[in-house]
């Protein structure tokens, strides 16, 4: 019998909430494969998949874990993510991982790779430098070398040798996943009451720990069940794009609070690894070259990606327009340099188009949402007033 919607969402929520990674442990027992953790925001999961390894996305510990030792590693003015990651390492939660990849996201994650190595010298710990030059002969050549090198390291640790045919199959599997993610985003844009973000979020986030094939099935089931639910009807909510939450994730309670405060989140930055590559990666020809080309030429705009010839904020404006949003919520982790330094540029672009916005900060373990609820509620009300005026 098929799972019902509440059960599916509860299962997904449990998968994201349980930082002891029980599903990863079970997968390892079942398959004997390697599990490779990775920090936000992007790693080429296709490569690990082709090597028979499970890529496991790490996003800290949410609001469930009391940080005791992690705080001794980080000053108060550094975001929360690295301290909870260290805490998880020290309390054994991440023991099931055979290695961790630290992508070049920001100075905090970069330096966390070093702290991790000092703390856990016996584990594979790999920094993945991603190019900020997007020309194939420069950034492309460098990135390809990084991918080959990381694949070699995974192979040395017991993963399969990277082969073109298997990589092509992995690209196919992830393309399918990406297509469903895109479809869900499109559905939410059109009928946000059918796919509340607090639900969609956990369903997407489950993709950080599930094998891609299982996650794709989960997405499919979620879509079918959510669309079938006749009880879900439009309400008078303000349509907003939420931006800034691409790395450290807010507690689920915060997302629920925003929705309860009268916002339909019609586009967001959560769990960007699932959508980092905008379209399908070519399934023809040299698969590694295709992954590289997709990274260089078909990636989303992000505060951690150099905005070469483009104008900062234009992409946000486009997203607002495409999703017919009426306003923007800047919702970034405290002390997150990439997100917070990006904001004035994005805000200026919105101001230039007369798009209203409001901003607030969070930490993954923020427990009080009262102020945010009031702020978001007032914002939603004012948007509705303007649109009625």
């Amino acid at each position: 019998m098929k799972e019902n919607l509440p059960a599916l969402v509860a299962r997904a929520a449990e998968l994201c909430r349980d930082w002891r990674l029980p599903s990863v442990r079970a997968w390892k027992q079942r398959t004997g494969g390697l599990a490779i953790g990775y920090l936000p925001v992007y790693v080429p999961r296709e490569v690990f998949h082709a090597q028979g390894a499970l890529a496991v996305g790490l996003t800290g510990a949410g609001d469930d874990l009391e940080i005791i030792k992690g705080d001794a590693f980080y000053q108060s003015y550094i975001c929360h993510l690295p301290r909870s990651t260290i805490e998880l390492g020290l309390n054994g939660s991440l023991d099931c991982l055979d290695g961790i990849v630290f992508p070049a996201t920001c100075d905090v994650i970069r330096n966390l790779s070093g702290v991790w190595r000092m703390q856990f010298p016996q584990k594979m710990s790999r920094y993945l430098d991603v190019p900020q030059n997007f020309e194939r002969e420069m950034g492309g050549a460098f990135y390809r070398h990084e991918l080959e090198d990381i694949a070699r390291e995974v192979h040395e640790r017991g993963g399969k040798q990277l082969e073109a045919e298997t990589l092509r199959a992995s690209i196919r599997a992830y393309n399918e996943n990406r297509r469903l993610v895109r479809a869900l985003f499109a559905l939410r844009r059109n009928e946000p009451w059918k796919l509340p973000t607090a639900e969609l979020y956990v369903v997407l986030r489950a993709g950080l720990v599930l094998p891609v094939e299982e996650h794709t099935q989960l997405l499919r089931d979620y879509r079918d069940l959510a669309l079938l639910d006749a009880e879900r009807r439009p309400m008078d909510q303000a349509r907003v794009v939420l931006t800034g939450s691409f790395c450290e994730q807010p507690p689920l309670g915060l997302i629920k609070t925003l929705e309860r405060a009268g916002c339909y989140i019609v586009d967001d930055d959560f769990v960007p690894v699932l959508r980092w590559l905008k379209g399908d990666v070519s399934e023809q020809g040299d698969p590694l070259a295709n992954l590289v080309a997709a990274f260089l030429e078909d990636a989303i705009d992000s505060p951690v990606r150099y905005c070469g010839d483009g104008t900062k904020g234009q992409d946000l404006v486009r997203r607002v327009e495409e999703s017919k949003a009426e306003g923007v919520l800047f919702c970034a982790p405290s002390f997150c340099d990439p997100a917070l330094l990006d904001q004035p540029m994005a805000q200026a672009a919105l101001d230039g188009r007369g798009i209203p916005w409001t901003s607030f900060k969070y930490a993954e373990n923020t427990g009080q949402f009262q102020v945010i609820r009031e702020q978001a509620g007032t914002f939603a009300d004012s948007i509705k007033l303007w649109s009625e005026a």
Partner: protein, 432 residues
């Protein structure tokens, strides 16, 4: 508390000469920049870590370093207002204050440290070395100026080494992106012979700088390798590496310090000559600029001398042998960029600190953690513990900021410094 300083001798001290000369050089540079709109000289804004001054100079382009402007604003008491203005304009209180200080300065008329207006950039050279914030900083500036931007992405030495792929990546960007852009801006052809001459001069200056920094191995140390050394690294980190002026400056500086070594003199502090070296410290992290002299004085009053620091390696790590190599002009610049301190992985940083503590016979390690700078600060507590356990010498921790005066709490820093020094004294078995 014993006061261990006295005013410098009536005749100008050798240290004063180098400091004066350095000040003059920098002032001259700023006034040359101020006159640029009339003289037609072109300029390039870029960052201290991974700065390619020789290359710019070989095109007759003048470098402008926003971090230097920010620190100068901090020292001259302007940064508080600039930061407040940037925050008023929507910048978060949480982010790097160098950026906000620069934005505030720009919005207040872009008047530089010498009171003259800085020219608009003809090119923004985003030397993306050792700090992710640089990218945001120049994305912000890009919105303010109508000029080209070149991103020079410098990969991180995550494994403590430079691979062939990294070297090729940076070299190719220099060759294929940067040099054509510099030709365009300057209207000159790339002249490799000229570049090589600059690089030769760089190596000469680097040799002398290293000698000066390593003079701190003497007892007493003739220099303060953090507070004092920020003056010494000024010319080479800013606009002068590769120039004849820099060669002369470092030659003269070396002679001055050699003289101090011969006379067994300690460093000159804000209150004069330090006559009794009671503590030898290694410092990790940048200093605070808004209360620089007050900060230094706290150390001097205790007889604490910094004998080695990592901050003085942000614009290039030369003391383990790297010199610009004129025979491999592009590759050497690539290697230079990758070798700057904040582009090194934490294990290498720990190794450097450990060596400093041991080779400079330091009593302990002090970390000044600055709120602004994740590139330095994230991970410092783990580094501190590691160095402490490897060396068996005490480590202390203080917090401040680079240019935000709100985060300089003199009482707190003084307390922590005093307890740290007491810990050292106890460990030695002597009186605190």
């Amino acid at each position: 508390m014993s006061v261990t300083t006295r005013k410098p001798p009536a005749e100008k001290s050798a240290k004063d000469d180098s400091q004066l000369r350095q000040k003059e050089m920098i002032a001259r540079h700023y006034s040359r920049l101020a006159r640029a709109p009339e003289t037609g000289e072109k300029n390039v804004y870029t960052f201290v870590p991974g700065n390619l001054t020789e290359l710019l100079r070989s095109f007759d382009l003048l470098p402008v370093l926003p971090e230097i402007n920010a620190l100068q604003s901090g020292m001259r008491g302007k940064s508080g207002d600039y930061i407040a203005l940037a925050e008023k304009l929507g910048h978060s209180e949480d982010v790097c204050t160098y950026v906000k200080c620069d934005i505030g300065m720009l919005k207040s008329g872009n008047v530089g440290p010498t009171g003259e207006r800085l020219p608009k950039p003809d090119l923004l050279l985003l030397s993306y070395t050792g700090c992710f914030t640089f990218m945001k900083w120049f994305e912000l500036l890009k919105q303010e100026y109508d000029c080209p931007v070149v991103m020079l992405h410098v990969p991180y030495q995550a494994d403590g080494r430079i691979t062939e792929s990294m070297r090729t990546y940076v070299s190719t960007q220099i060759r294929k992106k940067l040099i054509p852009a510099l030709e365009q801006v300057s209207g000159r052809k790339y002249d490799e012979d000229r570049l090589k001459e600059c690089l030769q001069r760089s190596a000469q200056a680097e040799e002398d700088l290293v000698w000066v920094l390593q003079s701190a191995k003497n007892r007493p140390s003739p220099i303060d390798a953090w507070f004092g050394a920020v003056y010494y690294v000024g010319p080479i980190f800013s606009a002068f590496r590769g120039t004849e002026e820099a060669v002369e400056y470092y030659r003269a500086l070396r002679a001055e310090i050699a003289e101090r070594v011969a006379q067994k003199l300690g460093p000159v502090t804000p209150d004069g000559l330090l006559t009794e070296e009671k503590y030898r410290l290694v410092v990790e992290g940048p200093p605070n600029w808004t209360s620089f002299r007050e900060f230094w004085r706290m150390f001097a009053e205790e007889g604490a001398v910094v004998v080695a620091s990592t901050y003085t390696k942000v614009g290039g790590t030369y003391d383990f042998g790297f010199r610009h190599d004129a025979d491999r002009p592009i590759e050497t610049m690539a290697e230079y960029c990758m070798g700057c301190y904040t582009n090194l992985d934490l294990q290498t940083r720990v190794g450097i600190l450990e060596r400093y503590v041991k080779e400079y016979a330091a009593d302990g390690l002090l970390v000044n953690s600055v709120k602004s700078c994740n590139s330095f600060s994230a991970g410092q507590l783990a580094m501190l513990r590691e160095v402490e356990s490897r060396t068996g010498r005490p480590a202390g921790f203080i917090e401040s900021d680079l240019v935000d005066p709100r985060y300089f709490s003199a009482a707190n820093i003084k307390n922590r410094l005093e307890s740290f020094l007491q810990m050292i004294a106890q460990k030695r078995g002597g009186p605190a």
